[in-house]
Structures are given as C-alpha cells and as structure tokens.
Symmetry: C2
Subunit: 578 residues, 2 copies
C-alpha cells in the first residue's frame, strides 16, 4: 500500500465525491429540498463530518484554507454567475446595484464597526482591549453580502428578476469595496500612525481596484473571443479557452491586488457574445454544462467545508459581542437599504416596493468569503473572538434567514419570476422600444442608458464584430437564433415522437393542404397588386433581419441595402415550398 | 505585484494555454499537419522552449515530473482511450492483443536486455560496468510501446480497424507487464542475492497486477453505473461521476501497486453502456466532449514537456550503446511480431497479412511512459546514459517512424479504415450472425467467443441491467437508438434548411400522397389474408425489438411474450399515420 504517493489527488477526488453524493442524497427525498435550502443541509453534513473528525482525533478538524477557497473554489462560481448573468436587467439596474454595493457596503462597514466599538466600551463585557480599528476591520469583513450564499438561496425561491439582480449584483460588485476596506484597515492596524494621506489613497484605491479589475477582465475577454476565431479545425479544445482565459483574468487581477471577481465577471460577460457565435453548438453545450457542473461542485464543497471548519477550538465565545454583531448586521443593513432605496425611488419611475426592500435587506446573507477573510487576519489576541462571531453570523444568516425567506416570500406575495420565456413577439417589441427610446434620448439630448447602449451596439457592429467574429458577414439576429432554436427543438420532439415519418426527406411532398388553402384564400381576398407589394416588403425586410443582423444604425436607411441576390434566394425558397 | 500567491495555478494555466495555442497554430497552415504528425511538431515546440530556457538561465530546464505525468497527465488519455474503445474489434482480437502485450513485451525486454549486455562486453565501448540486471532493467522500460505516442500517430493515418486495435490494444495492455518487470528488476538491483523464489513471485505478480487492476476498475465502473441511477433530479453533476469514479479507480489501483491503466480501461469500458443509458443526452455530450478535450490537452502537454526535458545536461552520450539500443529495439520488435503472428495465423481464419505485420512492427512507438520511468530509476553511475538512450529512442521512433509511417501506409496500400458508419442493414446482419454463431457453438459444444458473449449478454439483461439501469423496463436496442439518432439528425437538418415548415405540428396533415399510394399498391397486389398475416408478424416482431431490446435469449420462444397492449398501441400509431 502506497498511500503517500496518491494522497493529494485521492483526497481531492474523495471530497468532491462526498459532495456530489451528498447532493444526490438530498434529492432522493423530494420533500427535503423544498423546505430546507441545500446550503443548510450541506453545512449540516459538514458539521457532522467535523464532529466525527473531532471526536476521533481529539483535535480540531482541518480548517478551509483561504488560498484554496480564493484560488480554486470561488472562481468557478463567479465565472458561472458572470457567464449566465442576465445582461439586460443587470445593465438596466446598474446604478442601483452600484449604489447598494459601494455606498451600502461602506455604510454597513462603518455602522457595524462603530457600534461594535461602542459595545466594547461597556465594562461588563470585558472587551475594552478591542480597538476601533480592529472593530472596523471586523466590520469590513462581516459587512459584505456573499455571492455564493445569495445564489444558493435565491436560485431556489424564484423571486422576480429585478429583485434577484439587485441582491445578487450587489453581492458580486461589493467585492472591490470589501477588498479595499479590508486591506486598508489591515495595513492601518500594523501602522504606528495613520496620516490623512493614507485615507485619501484608500479612497483612490476603490477606483483602481474596481475599474482595474474590469479592465483586466475585458482585455482577457476580448483576447478569448479573438482566439476562438481560429479554432475551426480543432473544435475539441474550444471550450477550454473560455475557462482558461477567464481563470487567467482572475489570477492576473489577484496578482496585481485588483478585484478578481470584477475581472472574471467582466471577462465572461464580455466574451460570451462573441465566443458563442464562434464556437460550435456542441462546444457551447459543453461550456454551459461544465460551467454549471463546476460551480455546483465548488458551491457544495464550500458549504461542506464551512460546516467542517466550524467545529473545533478556534473560537472564543464572548456572547455579548457575538449577539450584538448579529443584531447590528441586521439593523444596519435594513437601515442602509431603506435610506438608499428612498433616494433610488426618487429618481426612478419603476420604484422598488417596500416588500422588495424587505427581501433585499433580509437576503443579505453572509458566507464563505467572510469566513476566509477572518482566517486571513494577522494573529492578534482577539482573532478567535472574531472567528466565533463570523461563524455565528454566517450560520445565523444561512440557517435562520435562508430557511425563513421562502415562507416570507410566499407570505408577502412578492412578485415571482415569470416561468415562461419571452415570446418572439415580446422580444421584437422590446427591441423596437429600445430603438425608439434611443432615438428619443438622442433628440432630447439626454444621454441615458438607451443612448449609450445604442452607441455601444454601433461600435460593436462597426469594429468589434469584424475583429472578433469568424464569419462576420453572417451575424444572426437573436430573434432569428431563437427561431432556429425553437425549430430545432420542435424537429427533435417530432422525431422523438415518431411523427416526422419518412415524408420530410422529400421536401416537395411536404407542402400540405392547409398552406395551399391559406395561400389561396389570401390570393382571393387580397388584390394582386397589394399582395405583390406585401411580398416585396417581406422579401426585403425579412431577408434583412435574417442576413444582416440586428445592427440598427441611425446612419443608414432601410432601403439602402442593395437588393442583389436576396429576392432571388427568397424566390427559390418559395418555389421549394410550393 | 504578488506573484508568489498565484504562482501554481497561474503557471499551470499558462502551460495549458501555450499547449492549446500551439495546437491552433499548427492547424492554421493546412499543409503542415498532413505531412508532419502533431506529436513531432509539439516536441519541436518543446525543444525550442527548452533551448530558450537553457539559453537564458544557463542551467538545465525543469524536467517533466514523473509524478505529474502518472497522476495527472496520463489518466485523461487512458480514460479517453478506454471510453471510446471500439469494444467489438477489441474483444474479437483480445487473444492476439494479449499475446503481443504479454509474450511480446517479455520477448522484447529479455531480447534487448541480453543483447545490450553483449554489447557491454566489448572492451572498446568502455561499458563493462553495466551489469546484466541494469541492462534488463533498461530493457524493461524501453521495450514497452507507448499508448500516447501510438494514439497520436495512428489516429492520423486511418489504417483499418483491426490493425489499429492490435497496436493500440497492445500498447495499453502491456502496462501490467512493464510495471511488474520494471519493479522486479529494480528490486533485484537492490538485493544482494536473488533467490529462485523471487523469480516465481514475479511471475505470480503478473496475474495479480493485471487482473487486480481489471477487478478494481470493474468495481468502480459498476459503482459509477449504479450511482447514475439516482441523478435524475440533478442532471448537472452527472458528467462528474464518470470522471470521478474512473480517476478513483486509477488512483486506487496505483495505491495498491496494481496496473492503473488496466483499471481505468476496465472501469470506463464497464460503465459506458449503463451510464449512457442513465444520463441525459446533454450530459452525455458534455462527457464525450470534455473527455476528448482533456485528453487532447494532456497529450499536447506531454509532448511539449518531452521536448523541454530533452534539453539539458542530464545525458551521457555513449554513442555505441545508444545506437545499438535503437537497432535492437527495431530488430527484436520485428522478430517478435513475425514469430508471434506465425502462431496467431495458424489458429485464425482471418489472418494478419505481411503488410499488416510490417506496420505492427513499425508502429511500435516509444513515448512519455519510458521517459518517466527512466527518471524514476534509483541514482546509480550510468543513469545519465540510460536517460540519453531513452531520449534518443523516443525521438527516433516519434520523428523517423512517426513521419514515415504515413507514406509507407500509402506505398504498401495497407487496407484503410472504412469511412462510412455501418448501415442499419449491416448491423442487423452482424447481430443475426452473432446469434447464429452462438447457437452453432452451443450445439457443437465449443466454448468460443460467441458462446461467452451470449452468456454475458444473458447475465447482463437478467441481473446487471436491473440493478444498474434507471428505467429498466425500457431498454432500447442499439439499432433503435441508431435509428432515433438518425431521425433526430435528419430533423435538425430539415429544420436548419427551413424545410420543416409549420406542417409537422399537425401530425394529421403529414400523411403525404406517396405513402397512401404505396399502401394502396400493396393492397392491390397482395392477397388481403396474406397482408393481414404480414401485419400481424410486423406488429408482434417490430414491436418486440422496439420495446424489449436486443436480449436474444435461448430460454424463451419468440411467441412467449404476451400480446397485451402491444398491437393496440401499434394500431393507434397506424391510425395516426393514416
């Protein structure tokens, strides 16, 4: 037996296996996952395992390594989140999200930090040695809402898209703020005196860390899109580039102390559109599936490790401090949401209702990021107290808030997510309104989101697509793609139901009675000249959508495209169908 | 800048990126890959990189770590090989493959070892200090044909299936022999005296290592199949189990000093059939695609590392020894193939032609396994000589043999692989002949491969499928699956060409003229009674194939199944189509 030799990969594989089997186990009983969120069950499994390890060895079980968390477990989840981010609601609410993420987080950090410092002044609690800076440092790590925990809970409760994106977007974008504040306070703790220059430098760092991360991500994303232009002959490694470039963007950002989360989100959102157009359908299925799989495993491992790490002798149980931490976390978040939403609602037509505000405040779950940050703290006397407080806050938010949020959503009748995908008609109308609003904004001289979206779309179709897409001359509108997808799905369903028969192999036979009848009826009722006119309009416009893509441009007129071969091909198609 | 923190994942990602980009680069020029095999190009890239590193640092570049190779790079390739192994030709030729792999490898080891020992006795070469045991040890590591190198070259030259499986199967199955002989000679080198008991123990180890590996693999494979029974509610982690269980089987086998390659091949071949039936279609696409991607990356990395590791000062250039190693490798392999094939051909009707024999002998490429094994040798005076000789043999076989084998295949007009997949008709006939031959073997009392195959199939349908498949009552014949796949593909093609139209959404309209006509013609020409008879036969038999699967069993008669609802459903289907 040579266990030493294979130990590392063997234990990693076993942990992943345990996580996957635990997941299967929960789903065997249908009732369990509908009452208790999976994250709670996983933490519970972790607690039991930690207890077993503790009982057998009589020493604390291994603690989740912060390096492993930040380098290996977090990126897949953030990549998945960024890649499948619904970009429309995200960019529509970007202002509100940023307000919550930046101002809200700063509010929470200072609120929790100062009020805990107040608690420390009470002599009965024996906490006088915890300085203000240490309290602020603790505040900076406990204030941040955790994307992993939020995703795990909110994916199960199906609230409406806007509410979901507000909480989830905040949890992602507060990373830059958390990183800056945490590092700032940690370095302040080690400095003898703090100059006002340092404070200003800290404020400047916000922008560097956040925007720097976005820039790194965009650079890698564009490179990824450019690389997939050349993979036509080796389809098999296409999915790899999506993972490699986004991971590289994360690592590069971390290397320069920028926000890795912002980088990977910018990278995945930036490349998605071009990569999807370049790679094959099967590669894309693989990318999507593997991303989901990977993030699901990471997620599971994080919660199990969280449970395992809770057991042990790392804690100092000063209950007043811990209880007040939980209370302050709840109060300051609720206050912050109320105040910020008041300002948001003043400038928006589509306001955030008070029910939504409650869910936003209540959905501020803490998770593994706080936990990893608290273990990364430099050693000092009260570190174990901070660890204990963090653990309790995480368990409280995940268990109590996570388990009660679903009944609360039911009770308050919060608007749910619509179950069905938007119809083609809806999509067309949404796009039409976008163009209309862009035109109105342009005329009125207001540089709003539609104006910028239109500019970006123009820049994209004029320059980016030419560089990044393999087959530039055939970009397809998303509506055409949706139609194709529906048709393909429909065809598969027919084939599986055995309804396709042999018939369609002879296209000439496919032409069934009903179409003939409708055509005839149409010809009967409509004047031939009008009909020709309609056909011409259809020929020109439908064809344009199918061929030249969605690029609405204010610099060309609809009639400008040359007719050329387009009507011819339509005629051929029509002849075939007759 | 904090490079230390992200160094490990960053460098791994960069290496993979380099490998992928190199692969893309080669394929940009269409002519290059058709002349030079990719493996040669990759080694060349590695040589250049090694040269650059050597030039800049003035010290030897890092050598490929044997642990990394055996634990991380080799398993994906072997998993891919095992999962996509064409099981029919493999099991049809299993006897010949085992003969080549076991007897052939032993023949090569002792042949090369003893004749090199003879060369060492020549005083002019200054090699008298290399003992017979060291020569045999060297023989044991240099004799084994490398699956990675064989796969890389043979996948590009498209020889016929039998020839491919003979060389490739040998390269996979000789692992057990190589492991045993290598470890045996290495422990002999360290022993003061060798007893005859040790030699017999070595012979016994063959069976333990080989069969033990297969057993470990089968256990994990069956567990994997059993696990995927329960993944219906969480499709997203299904692909994971295929990778986890096969990797665990490899690691477990390595842990007990069994053959990891045999384990992973047995695991993947064993689970494939059941896993495919249990998991969803998209999961399956992901599994297939990701396996191909992973093995392709591993493969690329191995050849690049091989090139990088070649540069440096690890070598002792004693040219007589090196040249004779290359010559003996070629001669003993050629002799071995000739002698063994002579015996094989005496017992087989479908003989191996002399052209095929030449390609088998010539295709005995050496690769990264030899290279990793030679670095794992204990330190002794002549280790650098062995490293030099191994490097030259690998480069010679990969470059000279790898680059000339394609022109030789063209020149000799070796039978190529058929391009098209077998038709449904062919498949039906093959299966029919299988059943027929199983019957003949049973009657004649000869326990040949068809007899055992039939027994295994019976055991599978009677017990294994009930335990391992989720929906046991609906197993589908492979012919039905093929038909479904073709239909699905056809439907997608139709949908993409826009030929599907709206029509098929109304199944009643689908019924076109031609089918009606042919039905009428049939009714005109055939007596109604006969027609009814035909319909009954079709109803019973077609239905049986569609529903109860391929399980031909000698213990039930075709009429035994109860008619029950079968004809009814067929009537419904028929009514629909009319």
């Amino acid at each position: 037996l040579d266990y030493q030799h294979v130990q590392v990969p063997f234990e990693i594989t076993l942990w992943i296996m345990l996580a996957s089997l635990a997941k299967i186990g929960f789903h065997l009983y249908n009732k369990l996952p509908s009452v208790v969120p999976e994250s709670c069950l996983l933490i519970f499994v972790g607690l039991i395992m930690g207890g077993i390890i503790y009982g057998l060895n009589d020493k604390s079980p291994p603690v989740m390594d912060s390096d492993i968390f930040f380098l290996y477990l977090l990126p897949p989840i953030v990549l998945d989140a960024g890649y499948f981010m619904p970009s429309r609601p995200f960019f529509e609410n970007i202002g509100t999200i940023l307000l919550y993420a930046v101002v809200g987080t700063i509010w929470n950090v200072f609120g929790i930090g100062f009020s805990l410092y107040g608690i420390c002044q009470v002599k009965a609690f024996h906490l006088q040695d915890v300085s203000l800076l240490h309290n602020l440092l603790f505040g900076s790590l406990i204030a941040a809402v955790d994307p992993v925990a939020v995703l795990a809970v909110f994916e199960e409760i199906h609230v409406n898209e806007k509410l979901h994106i507000l909480v989830f977007g905040e949890s992602l974008l507060n990373d830059a703020v958390t990183v800056v504040l945490y590092k700032l306070f940690r370095s302040f703790c080690e400095m003898p005196t703090i100059k006002s220059v340092d404070v200003f430098a800290g404020v400047g760092q916000f922008f560097v860390v956040g925007l720097g991360g976005v820039l790194v991500g965009l650079i890698f994303g564009m490179t990824a899109a450019f690389t997939t232009r050349f993979t036509k002959d080796i389809r098999v490694i296409e999915p790899l580039f999506v993972f490699l470039y986004s991971y590289l963007s994360y690592l590069t950002a971390e290397m320069f102390h920028l926000s890795g989360i912002m980088a990977i989100i910018a990278c995945s959102m930036g490349m998605k559109r071009y990569v999807e157009a370049n790679i094959s359908l099967k590669s894309h299925t693989t990318v999507k599936y593997f991303m989901k799989m990977w993030s699901s495993v990471s997620d599971t491992l994080i919660f199990i490790f969280l449970g395992v790490s809770t057991i042990g002798e790392n804690h100092e149980w000063n209950w007043p401090y811990i209880c007040f931490t939980v209370i302050f976390c709840l109060i300051w978040r609720a206050l912050g949401v109320l105040v910020l939403t008041f300002f948001v609602n003043r400038f928006h037509v589509n306001t955030i209702t008070s029910k939504d505000q409650f869910i936003i405040a209540y959905g501020g779950l803490r998770g593994a990021i706080c936990f990893s940050l608290v273990f990364l703290l430099p050693d000092f006397r009260r570190k174990k107290l901070f660890i204990a407080a963090t653990t309790v806050v995480i368990l409280f938010t995940v268990f109590v808030q996570g388990m009660t949020i679903r009944p609360l959503v039911d009770l308050l009748a919060v608007k749910r997510k619509r179950e069905s995908a938007p119809t083609v008609g809806e999509q067309i109308h949404i796009r039409f309104l976008d163009h209309l609003l862009a035109g109105i904004e342009d005329i009125s001289g207001h540089w709003g989101q539609y104006y910028w979206k239109d500019k970006l779309e123009y820049f994209n179709s004029k320059y980016l697509q030419k560089i990044l897409l393999r087959e530039y001359d055939q970009p397809k509108s998303s509506i055409v793609l949706l139609y194709e997808k529906l048709e393909r799905k429909h065809a598969i369903e027919l084939a599986e139901a055995g309804q396709l028969g042999r018939a369609p192999s002879h296209p000439s036979l496919l032409n069934n009675d009903r179409t003939v009848i409708t055509d005839k009826k149409l010809e009967d009722t409509v004047n031939p000249d009008v009909l020709e006119n309609i056909q011409e309009i259809l020929a020109r416009n439908l064809y344009r959508i199918r061929r030249t893509g969605p690029a609405y441009s204010r610099h060309t007129l609809p009639g400008e495209t040359e007719p050329g071969e387009h009507p011819q091909e339509i005629l051929i198609l029509r002849h075939k169908s007759l």
